[in-house]
């Protein structure tokens, strides 16, 4: 039996987590919940990977519970009721082994083991509700939030008092009326300094957080009255895939400032899209209860899987491929690059324990957190090709190293100038 028998995970409105194994010829699905004890309160509202090896899946529920599903053991290993704010969990992330949650009422919390070290941010000082929280792929302490009448904000967990970036609304329209804001999804682009948001008012906006400009550098209107609900960056840096509540799935080019293609096969509102970071696969789940798998290069619908419940979230494995041999190769490479996963067995058994894995958290020396306090948003030159050349398979690790080097240099320079 392979180590992971499912390569796509889907969370449903009925609270069921489903695993799907998609290959070229066949599709196998399995439910991980007991179907006799479903509750409306257990609707899965957000999902993310719990670790770098993609061994655990974190689930955020409507009832403010966070659950951990272990894909290797095939069981739910942890469950914890949150006690901050109200409303469903709309964003989940992992930072230094600890879980970050965001709820609809705007409270973003980093759940450290010690209560004094917990970091809590109120991201909803204005506006009605928070719609999404996303984590920067380059720096796990940087979060982006946005919601209804609450424009994009970037937060650094090391400096939780103030947002590090706060977007400014576009100028009033030709009638001098204020343009409404309803951020429904956020994604960080490849260089992590540019952030794209999509709005319920059918517009995709691109922000350059390092340019010093708070207004969007690019604004793309998608269709007419298309309530855009979700967004994902694709394997190409200049393109994002946008899904709408009216069942449209469009690839939006942010260099050209227009949509380049529409994908077919959706009948209901798209709830989440997830694009593979290196290959041209795009998975999307929608209210018409289908999981769709498209190829962005050929525009073709590769698979259409009926999953019986209305679906909210989707996750795809890093080694996802329709050809099982490719996936296995990737797995071997992954194993070679990354250290073997620490045996989390004893910790997982301890269900009363906190959500985060304590060991990993303690491993981090305190100096590093201090450094992070001084850190501003990463100012990286945009050079997608260089990055791609340096690390065709795994762009994250080298980039992190790059950034810290640059930062050190800057610090040295700054110190010299001050001295």
């Amino acid at each position: 039996m392979p180590r992971h028998c499912h390569n796509v995970y889907v969370g449903a409105e009925t609270g069921v987590l489903k695993g799907i194994n998609v290959t070229e010829g066949e599709v196998q699905t399995s439910n991980f919940h007991n179907l006799t004890a479903l509750e409306r309160e257990n609707e899965i509202c957000s999902m993310c990977w719990g670790d770098d090896e993609q061994r655990q899946v974190l689930l955020g529920l409507r009832s403010q519970q966070v659950k951990v599903y272990d894909t290797v053991q095939g069981t739910f290993t942890m469950s914890r009721q949150l006690s901050s704010g109200s409303g469903p969990v709309i964003g989940l992330a992992k930072h230094q082994g600890a879980v970050i949650t965001a709820v609809e009422s705007g409270i973003v919390t980093l759940w450290r083991y010690a209560e004094s070290e917990r970091v809590s941010v109120n991201a909803l000082t204005t506006g009605e509700k928070l719609c999404r929280m996303r984590q920067s792929p380059a720096d796990s302490a940087v979060l982006a939030t946005g919601g209804q009448e609450n424009d994009l904000q970037l937060w650094d967990l090391a400096r939780p008092e103030q947002p590090v970036f706060r977007a400014k609304n576009v100028r009033p329209d030709m009638l001098d009326l204020r343009v409404p804001v309803w951020v429904s999804d956020i994604t960080f682009l490849e260089d992590a300094r540019r952030v794209a948001t999509c709005h319920r008012h059918s517009v995709v906006r691109l922000y350059d957080t390092a340019s010093g400009q708070r207004r969007p550098v690019m604004s793309v209107t998608v269709g007419e009255d298309e309530p855009l609900t979700c967004l994902s960056r694709t394997h190409r840096d200049h393109q994002v895939l946008v899904g709408s509540g009216r069942g449209r799935l469009e690839l939006c080019d942010i260099r050209m400032g227009r949509t380049v293609l529409a994908l077919k096969g959706v009948a209901g509102g798209v709830r989440e899209v997830y694009c593979h970071p290196e290959r041209s696969y795009a998975a999307s789940v929608s209210l018409d209860r289908f999981l769709l798998l498209h190829d962005l290069d050929t525009k073709k619908l590769l698979h259409k899987v009926y999953l019986k419940s209305r679906l909210n979230c989707v996750l795809m494995r890093r080694n996802f491929s329709l050809n099982p041999e490719d996936a296995e190769e990737d797995e071997v490479e992954d194993a070679a690059v990354q250290p073997a996963p620490a045996s989390t067995g004893p910790e997982l058994e301890d269900e009363e324990d906190d959500l985060q894995i304590v060991e990993e958290f303690l491993d981090v020396p305190p100096e590093e957190t201090k450094k992070k306090k001084k850190r501003k948003l990463p100012k990286l030159k945009i050079s997608g090709e260089d990055v791609a050349d340096a690390s065709p398979k795994k762009p994250k690790l080298p980039k992190l190293v790059d950034m810290s080097k640059k930062k050190k240099k800057k610090k040295v320079k700054a110190g010299e100038s001050k001295g």
């Binding site: 009255d225 069942g247 009948a267 509102g269 018409d288 019986k308």
Partner: protein, 323 residues
């Protein structure tokens, strides 16, 4: 009508012999009159063969009696329908659980009786007003109100606060002198909302004889809602009527789905004997076609749709149906 059966490729049949001749004899002739004549002859011959084959089958059936092969079923668009993956299996546990959790769980659990608010656009035409009055007689516990220039969203919000469970808006197109051409059904308080195209409205006054009907709570018959979308629409339509019918009234409302058109009929029935049942149509009658099903109450600009009809993408086959 004689059954039309397609001959299988390997099987020789009478029509096979005539088929290859068709291009030379009928189509490729330059004179149109001759082409026509040839075609007519061909049809006649084919019909004759069909008739003979049918007679032969009947004879065989009479001879064999009980052991006869079953009567062939004619091919219709329904029988040739493209199978849908979302077809609801009644014993499916996940669907049952989803039904229990959805917005109509309260109605089917007999917790809350429906209370319906019926309204139309501003300044409804006399015909639409009559239609609304008749609908109010048909759907029990309905209140007809003037729209009073209120928006759909505001009406839905206020109606939900006042304890209505359903909201129906009749749309009409006065510019084209069409009476009613749209029906929006919003289930309160959490949706969903369905938008239908309304056609072939016939009021009971327009029917052959005006019949009286009583105010007993009717029975509801839902026909042929097979797919997941159909299942949901059927549940939504059923939730308009009270869950406790008064059988004394012998009234029955039928919502019959055929080729994605939902036909509404209202009858009074009478059991003549053990086998026979007499039906008398009372009216009104109308036809609905689903355009979209929206999650939540009506919000056409920023809301999400569970299903939305896309003509060019979905309606590529005549044999594909969604309900």
């Amino acid at each position: 009508m004689a059954p039309r059966s397609k001959p299988k490729p390997g099987e020789p049949s009478s029509s096979d012999a005539a088929a290859p001749l068709l291009p030379e004899r009928c189509i490729d002739h330059k004179n149109k009159n001759i082409r026509k004549e040839k075609w007519r002859e061909l049809r006649l011959q084919k019909n004759k063969e069909k008739r003979e084959a049918r007679k032969k089958r009947q004879k065989v059936r009479e001879e064999l009696g009980k052991d006869a092969p079953p009567v062939l079923q004619p091919h219709t668009i329904e029988t040739l329908r493209i199978p849908d993956v979302t077809t609801v299996q009644p014993d499916d546990l996940e669907t049952q659980q989803a039904d229990r959790l959805d917005e109509f769980g309260g109605y089917f659990g007999r917790e809350a009786a429906p209370r319906v608010l019926l309204t139309a656009g501003d300044f409804p035409s006399p015909k639409t007003r009559d239609f609304m009055k008749e609908l109010a007689l048909v759907i029990p516990n309905t209140e007809v109100r003037l729209r009073n220039f209120s928006s759909v969203k505001k009406t839905a919000r206020v109606a939900a606060a006042k304890g209505y469970t359903d909201l129906i808006f009749i749309n009409e197109d006065k510019s084209k002198k069409v009476m009613a051409n749209g029906l929006l059904h919003v289930h309160l308080p959490d949706g969903p909302s369905a938008l239908y195209r309304l056609s072939n409205v016939k009021l009971s006054a327009e029917m052959r004889r005006i019949k009286e009907f009583t105010h007993h709570r009717p029975e509801v018959v839902l026909n042929n809602f097979t797919t997941m979308l159909g299942h949901r629409v059927g549940r939504m339509l059923a939730s308009l009527f009270h869950f406790d019918p008064e059988f004394k009234g012998r009234r029955v409302m039928t919502l019959h789905n055929q080729r994605d058109y939902i036909f509404f009929r209202h009858h009074r029935y009478e059991f003549k004997n053990e086998k026979k049942c007499a039906l008398r149509e009372l009216g009104p009658r109308f036809t609905l076609k689903l355009r979209s099903l929206q999650k939540g109450t009506f919000d056409s600009k920023t809301g999400e749709y569970e299903w939305i009809r896309k003509r060019h993408e979905m309606e590529d086959s005549r044999r594909k149906f969604h309900l």
